[in-house]
Amino acid sequence: MEHLDDVRFVGFNQDHTCLAIGTAYGFRIMNTYPIINYYSRGKGINRLPRRFFDRPTAIPFEFGVPGRHSTLSVIPSNETCDLGRPENEYFG
């Protein structure tokens, strides 16, 4: 796959059950322990912020820094890896 030098992000989700690694060419989401690959995506992502997804409703965000501006993209969870339903919502 990618060269080691291309790693741009590593991070866990909130309960540390998943981890993500992002490179210049894509990212993958894995089960933390034992280590199992959940999801991979190829080219087209610049940078993954820390805690870019949560569980059980996994909603990844991605952002770039074109010039002085930042764009934050919201991706529906049902198109990624929806692992369940939220148990409670404060700001409903």
Partner: protein
């Protein structure tokens, strides 16, 4: 995978914090909090200059608890959205370099720019519960992780040593409520229970739920699991390159 919405900011996004109902976008000197269901802006909070994007948001519990850098250096503000109250914790006299909250937001661990100590506070009472000693040399703290039961805490730094501290928090819990005062008297100062030496690379860490394993991931994409069941030197169990796992 399609994009359903985009939020644009005039300054770079430093970090993001998410929970089921809200998410917080951390800019260099402000935090924007949005409702996740309809992306309505819920809160704007001015902060100390925050190029590291330091911010914590509890992931469990009915109500959000947000910790961020107050404008006074060394002070962390904890906002309880349940009643819109803010508690100020004077963590250090110098700048805070790293902070992490446990999942329900009851505890806040932080390190200063010297990285010699980790201080753990109760977010509700603002009380200093533990002072954990990392070392006598200056260090940049890269990650602090709470064990799910709060019995242990792990710290990584640019010195290359991973420290595991035994805090015994769950021993003080009765009927789901923590009696932290009792623990604070007993564990007020301590050095690490177990250590693991790794090369000087940026490393993040977390605890596996088996009560004996810490997971380490380096910025080069290396994955390590180490066993800390015995005090002293941790044992390396697994080592993989994450980019090569199928």
């Amino acid at each position: 995978m399609s994009i359903s919405a985009e939020l644009r900011f005039s300054t770079p996004v430093m970090s993001l914090r998410l929970r089921r109902d809200i998410f917080s976008v951390v800019l260099e000197d402000q935090i924007y909090t949005y409702r996740k269901s309809d992306l309505i802006l819920n809160d704007i909070i001015p902060t100390l200059s925050n190029r590291k994007g330091l911010c914590c948001l509890n992931s469990t519990g009915t109500f959000p608890i947000l910790a961020y850098l107050e404008k006074d250096k060394g002070t962390i503000a904890v906002k309880f959205y349940q009643d819109d109250t803010i508690r100020l914790i004077k963590a250090f006299e110098i700048f805070v370099a790293y902070m992490e909250m446990n999942q329900d937001g009851s505890l806040l661990a932080c390190a200063s720019v010297t990285g010699k100590q980790i201080r753990v506070f109760s977010t509700e009472s603002k009380e200093l519960l533990y002072t954990l000693h990392r070392g006598i040399d200056k260090a940049v703290i890269h990650c602090i992780a709470f064990h799910p039961t709060l019995d242990f805490l792990a710290v990584t730094s640019d010195r290359g040593t991973i420290h595991v501290y035994r805090t015994g928090e769950s021993e003080g819990r009765k009927d789901g409520k923590s009696v932290k005062k009792m623990i604070a008297k007993y564990f007020v100062n301590q050095t690490s229970y177990a250590q693991f030496k790794l090369k000087n690379t940026r490393t993040i860490c977390c605890f596996a739920k088996d009560n004996s394993t810490v997971i380490l991931v380096t910025e080069e994409g290396e994955y390590l699991s180490i066993n800390y069941s015995e005090p002293g030197e941790c044992q390396l169990v697994e080592r993989y390159n994450l980019l090569e796992i199928n």
